[in-house]
Symmetry: C2
Subunit: 395 residues, 2 copies
């Protein structure tokens, strides 16, 4: 059975992560995505990081299930081709800087004139207007402005750091993919085509906020029990490494004492009921667990914590992630092969549908790999296609 978004046609001109990941999420659910790339070398991520035979790993990870065509939108014939694609599209995605789309004559008004029912999706960096709107923004910049970097500073690691993963780019993508889907749903029930907008800065703070800004949620100084869970995240030293443990309930806290062989303490009255959350009891328990884990190897500590049902995990290296028994049981990793760039590995989309199940989406295309099939669908004959290629209008 086809995916839930089967029949939806998307034209995507976006680049790198924030935009491409949006249309990949939708493609994985059955949408037909035409990726329109700029002339010469295609979109920016084809040039970024880890290549083989004209394909980069970053492009692979954000562009499954799409067909690629290169179009020079600054060329009148190229712009006309984009308009032809828009005529039959449901969604358009762009992540240029504010006003760039209008300058290229592919702004919302331009495309809505061609297709009134279009969902026009835009990603800005800092915002669509405002003091920083014209600046170019990147993930680490947004992390720094939205509290992520400050949050990394803590007693165990007294050096501020960034989250070393493009969390803001991807929060943007996930939020916009949902927003586009909601706009499609509303359109199906009678709403008009509309503009769905997101700024990476807004996505960065919105994603961080729910647990990250607990100290700034209730306003006033009469708030009791100031706790932010992330401040308590901690790697516990073992005799040969570190382990993550997260004892959240009273039962888990008691069990953590049993895991390190301190039944004597677990049975003590001040480690029972309400007494166990008193400062003295907490400090005593924390010290006992810390000392106990430090005397065990990581393997011993993990086994003991699991045996006593205390949530825990070793720190997996990236190769170890690929062979983890639960991740592999869940079929999280998919190996595939493209005739030119060869074997690669991808991660499975995390949402699983019971009835609208799309097959695995196609391998990412080389630059312009699908130009002929796309132009053919537009009814453009082979000789005209050759002409468009020779003039540099398409690649």
């Amino acid at each position: 059975m086809p995916g839930p978004l089967d029949g939806i046609r998307i034209v995507d001109v976006s680049e790198v992560i924030s935009g491409p990941l949006v249309s990949m999420i939708l493609a994985d659910q059955g949408a037909d995505v035409v990726k329109v790339e700029p002339p010469k070398n295609g979109e920016e991520s084809r040039q970024l990081a880890n290549y083989r035979a004209g394909m980069s790993a970053l492009y692979v990870n954000c562009n499954h299930g799409k067909r690629s065509i290169g179009i020079n939108l600054k060329d009148e014939a190229g712009l006309h081709l984009l308009y032809e694609l828009i005529r039959k599209a449901d969604v358009f995605v762009q992540n240029w800087r504010p006003d760039a789309a209008e300058r290229l004559r592919v702004g919302e008004a331009d495309l809505r004139a061609i297709n009134p029912r279009l969902i026009y999706a835009s990603i800005a960096g800092f915002g669509f207007s405002g003091p920083y709107a014209d600046r170019r923004g990147y993930d680490p910049i947004f992390q720094s402005l939205t509290g992520w970097v400050t949050a990394q500073l803590n007693p165990e690691v007294p050096i501020p750091d960034l989250v070393r993963n493009a969390v803001v780019d991807k929060a943007t993508s996930y939020a916009l993919a949902q927003g586009i889907t909601a706009a499609l749903y509303a359109r199906e029930r009678g709403a008009s085509g509309q503009h769905v907008k997101i700024s990476m800065l807004d996505a960065g703070i919105a994603f961080f906020w729910p647990d990250g800004m607990l100290r700034h949620t209730l306003i006033g100084d009469d708030v009791s029990n100031l706790v932010v869970p992330g401040e308590r995240y901690q790697l516990m030293p073992t005799s040969d490494g570190r382990i993550v443990m997260w004892a959240s309930t009273a039962a888990q806290m008691q069990a953590s004492l049993l895991a390190v062989g301190r039944k004597d303490l677990a049975d003590a009255p001040h480690q029972q009921g309400k007494a166990m959350i008193q400062a003295h009891s907490q400090a005593e328990r924390a010290a006992a667990v810390r000392d106990g884990l430090a005397a065990m190897t990581t393997e011993q500590a993990y086994a003991a914590l699991v045996e006593h049902e205390v949530p825990a995990a070793p720190v997996l290296t990236h190769p170890e992630v690929l062979t983890d028994p639960q991740l592999t049981h869940n079929d999280c990793f998919i190996e595939a092969e493209h005739p030119v760039y060869g074997k690669y590995r991808r991660v499975r989309a995390p949402v699983r549908f019971s009835s609208t199940v799309a097959g695995p989406s196609k391998s990412p295309s080389l630059y312009g790999e699908d130009t002929d099939s796309i132009l053919d669908e537009l009814g453009i004959a082979p000789d005209k296609r050759r002409e468009l290629k020779e003039s540099g209008t398409v690649k």
Copy 2:
């Protein structure tokens, strides 16, 4: 005009972050959410972190736009009430451990018998089956198993750390909110009601992967130019602190030299064109920029980098985030007030719709605040409501 999900009715029995944030995203877009909480004290996050007058900040941040009712599902009359709510619902959300819903007789089959068109959404921790399926999981555990912790280790911060924010919980929420919306869309176009599932472990690796697992995407050892952007994220020391700088394009790299007053170097032939990406040129440029920034205050460095259009940002503290000129220009922060727990601050949903614009969603409810209105809608008379309360079936 109402939001894109206006008219959708959701019954949500989930707790803490991963589930509640899903239905909050949908509520912010106009869905009507009935939050069914367990008896006695309501759902778990009401007891977690930062309280005032019976409300916790974590609950506030994940439960806007919902009505609250306490129902004892282990009581036959309570279970019947839930079934009545399901009769008119479009979506059911739960994040109990695998099989708990079935034991409570609110598994997919139970609810589908009542409402065949229901979208039944389930969140598991490690998975719905498999070696770790019965374990309780929490965000830091999933981070450790899916590569996030290993990624934080780097030359500047030689201590592994966790991301101190519940990134896996929220990746789960965002992905599932999109999946539910896609299932609603498919249903509107003729698909059946269905089960939409996600595991936090799967969501953690899927979110991390696109840029985090670049070294493990193309399989084989003939990959050139191994680079992972997050490994290059760096806070640059200034004379009085640190600043984030991200020079991504050739023009930005050259401009970074101008920003630190090294026009001499920027004009040198080996800092032009292809020569500038040679190892020697890169090292020389990095050293010049590092030395230059170290001699400036953070304020001077930020001004100089912005003037030369090099992407940069100071590390904002959390109070500074709240007053940042672009975030406030974007109206990211909303102050509101509840009659009992008083003033609070929330973050605005990042996706903005141009035509289906929902008003701000209602303040989070105290435990059982909406029990009467919900029971009234089910046609249950005041005397019967009093009886249900007295028997402990509802709160």
